[in-house]
């Protein structure tokens, strides 16, 4: 046997071993799972984590971005009347809109669920239209409806001897208008999530409850709501985050006016940072959403986890 052959044997064994190890490594479920999620992890790193840290860095610079000022931008914001008005308005906007979306979504989900299966698909499709339309586009349509001078809504009101209503010209009406559009856009999301949750409630539970003589309200209170509770919590949290950070609806409809009364964090940050040329202050405003949303997320997710542990 030539020397070369003898000496090649250990290499082949080593290669075989390495190949086997690699195969085992790739066969592990955790590895496969990691590789599948890697593109998403990279996307999150590039599009979320890096911009977040960069925004935090920007918020520590002075107006001309030439020197480090620490938390001075945040300290300055605390002295501004407009900032506190934006905090108040953002909370009012997000809480009111999410509450209305949740209530409307819940009611509509029940109505759709009660619709016979044959027509249900059509209703689901139609009711999802506001949500699948690009919000900027649908808000433009609302803008025309709310137009102070040529509003279709005011024209209708005039027909019945009412109005005209200054939809976007008066602070109270303007706040109502942005909430209405946000609810119109977001309620279908709640509806579809709640509908999915309703469909996952075992029918046997209702049958047993009916045998026991439970009424409509008791079935809702003791079966439907507990079974949907996690979905309600997670949908609410998700919507709260999106609504709180809403930009397009408010910007297109009122641009924060009149007299700043409809600004939310995102629109005010844009006004200060991009339009006003004070990027560090704009970044500080936008970062202020983080602690508020973090507190909401902690409370809601803790509740969800507790229930999951009990189950």
């Amino acid at each position: 046997m030539p020397d070369g052959v003898i000496s090649a044997q250990p290499d082949a064994t080593a290669a075989k071993f390495q190949f086997g190890a690699a195969r085992n490594f790739f066969r592990q479920r955790s590895t496969v799972g990691f590789l599948f999620t890697l593109p998403l992890i990279l996307l999150i790193l590039i599009l979320v984590i890096y911009p977040s840290f960069y925004a935090a860095y920007l918020s520590t610079l002075n107006k001309r971005m030439t020197s480090f000022v620490g938390l001075a931008n945040f300290a300055f914001l605390f002295t501004r009347e407009t900032f506190w008005m934006v905090v108040k308005q953002s909370c009012l906007f997000a809480v009111t809109a999410v509450f209305l979306k949740a209530v409307i979504g819940f009611v509509v989900a029940h109505l759709v669920n009660a619709t016979p299966a044959r027509g249900q698909r059509k209703w689901r499709g139609m009711l999802l239209v506001p949500w699948v339309m690009p919000p900027a586009l649908s808000t433009l349509t609302w803008l025309w409806l709310f137009d102070p001078s040529y509003s279709a809504l005011n024209w209708l009101l005039a027909l019945v001897g009412l109005g005209p209503v200054p939809w976007t010209g008066d602070a109270a009406w303007a706040r109502l208008s942005v909430i209405v559009v946000n609810v119109w856009y977001g309620a279908p999301f709640f509806m579809i999530m709640y509908l999915a949750a309703l469909k996952s409630v075992p029918a046997e539970l209702y049958e047993v409850a009916a045998i026991d003589g439970a009424g409509w309200w008791q079935r809702l209170w003791y079966i439907t709501l507990p079974m949907m509770r996690n979905i309600i919590a997670i949908t609410t949290l998700f919507s709260l985050i999106v609504t709180f950070a809403n930009f397009d609806i408010v910007w297109i409809l009122t641009a924060g006016g009149p007299v700043d009364r409809t600004h939310v964090f995102a629109t005010w940050a844009f006004r200060l940072g991009i339009q006003g040329g004070d990027i560090p202050l704009g970044a500080s405003v936008s970062l202020f959403m983080v602690p508020i949303l973090a507190v909401a997320a902690i409370f809601i997710l803790r509740d969800v986890n507790k229930r999951a542990e009990r189950i």
Binding site: K63, E81, P148, P258
Partner: protein
């Protein structure tokens, strides 16, 4: 690339004899490449003039030019500027809106050499361009013809005559100097009242977008009312500011009741729909009326602002072309900016934009397009301020630009008017504005 780019020495050599461009190139693409971010004009077809001028220059100079026309819809151009400045990468030349040369001063290549040539060639620039485009002795950017505008009154000839007894054509005759000594803020107020009573109110917004802010700025300046003076002192609680607010409150009662919600489209719609006797705007509203409501367009007349105790001021909003400091082909960029500001190039831009675009140069305010525009003949004659009858200014000037930008973009003046109009005591409004402005002066 250095060996193939235009050098500063060659650029200076070529411009020394006040010749426009004509640099420095031998062989195809010998002068490298250039990328330009222009503003996407909202007048249909107006980009074509810029495109043709740039192409002709590029062919002559053998520079490979890439042009992007970036819309201001959704502030896309502003976002791109911010992104490019942060990344220190992007276009070589960018069309910068009014306040942006000052905001991005550290990121811009000085263009004193270009401005020296252009001022010699086209005459001096107005004070607003100096205020916005220069810091101390350093020119930050070149005033762009494309997109620059004056927002003077556009009146309805018939409605002003019928309700206010004012003949705007006689006051601002086509082809001749203004006869407008009686066109004062008091006359303006009386006309506003008369037109309001006649059911065709003046369409002046009190919102937070630039059209509303510009008119407020001009009226404040007519009273000498500045929220911050040139030295940066807060001067909100001053007599001129009180007078301006008192006046504006009276005027606001004759404006449409929804004026606080108006945006930049509202006044245009107001005029085109025939509901109002006057708006303050560049000729875009008239141009739309010409297409959509010819009977309205035939009655339009652009003219000067009313004079106040401290003079006659008109809002001027220039665009600029700036060269990023990170540009890799600055000599070619400067050469292109010279080519974009020749008499012929400016005339072409003005013509293709239907008279909308305004050069900032003193010698270029009497181009034929404005004299010949119709209907009615001469409607745009006074639009470019050919007789220098009014001071072209911008709201919040003369405050230091970094502060003025905040006052302008936060619409502090129109907010003051609305607060006072809605019943807030004058002193409370002034105190609120003072606190706001003090915040803007932070470094």
């Amino acid at each position: 690339m250095a060996g193939t780019q235009l050098t500063r020495r060659r650029f200076m050599h070529a411009t020394a004899a006040a010749a426009v461009s004509a640099p420095f190139v031998r062989g195809a693409q010998a002068a490298g490449s250039l990328s330009v971010g222009f503003w996407d004009h909202w007048v249909p077809g107006a980009n074509k003039a810029t495109e043709e001028i740039v192409r002709a220059w590029a062919d002559k100079e053998k520079v490979a030019v890439k042009m992007d026309f970036i819309t201001s819809q959704g502030n896309k151009n502003l976002l791109t500027i911010a992104a490019e400045a942060q990344a220190k990468s992007g276009h070589d030349i960018f069309a910068l809106p009014t306040w942006y040369p000052q905001d991005y001063a550290e990121h811009l290549e000085p263009v004193n050499d270009v401005m020296d040539v252009l001022i010699q060639q086209n005459g001096d620039v107005n004070g607003t361009v100096s205020y916005l485009g220069r810091t101390k002795d350093r020119w930050l950017a070149v005033p762009a013809t494309v997109g620059s505008q004056i927002k003077g009154p556009c009146s309805r000839i018939d409605l002003m005559r019928q309700h206010a007894g004012i003949d705007v054509q006689a006051m601002y005759p086509a082809g001749g100097p203004p006869q407008a000594d009686a066109w004062t803020l008091e006359a303006f107020l009386k006309a506003a009242e008369a037109c309001h009573r006649g059911g065709v109110p003046f369409g002046i917004g009190l919102g937070q977008t630039s059209d509303s802010v510009d008119t407020a700025g001009a009226i404040f300046q007519s009273f000498g009312a500045a929220l911050v003076d040139q030295a940066g002192n807060v001067t909100v609680k001053s007599d001129p500011v009180r007078q301006a607010l008192e006046y504006y409150k009276k005027l606001a009662t004759f404006l449409p009741p929804d004026a606080p919600a108006w945006d930049d489209a509202s006044n245009n719609k107001w005029l085109v729909s025939g509901r109002g006797a006057l708006i303050c705007n560049p000729p875009s509203a008239w141009a739309v009326a010409k297409r959509d409501a010819p009977n309205v367009a035939q009655q339009c007349w652009l003219h000067g602002m009313p004079a106040g105790p401290r003079g006659r001021f008109a809002p001027f909003l220039p665009f600029f072309w700036g060269i990023w400091a990170f540009s890799r082909n600055k000599p070619a960029a400067k050469s292109l900016l010279l080519a974009l500001s020749t008499h012929d190039a400016v005339a072409k831009m003005v013509d293709v934009s239907g008279g909308y675009d305004l050069p900032a140069w003193a010698k270029l305010t009497t181009l034929p397009t404005w004299a010949e525009a119709e209907p009615p003949k001469g409607v745009l004659y006074h639009y470019p301020n050919p007789h220098h009858h009014q001071t072209l200014s911008i709201a919040a000037a003369p405050a230091p630009p970094a502060v003025a930008n905040q006052i302008y973009n936060q619409a502090t003046m129109t907010k003051m008017v609305v607060r006072y109009l809605q019943g807030e005591p004058l002193d409370a409004t002034l105190s609120w504005a003072e606190r706001e402005v003090e915040g803007f002066t932070r470094g």
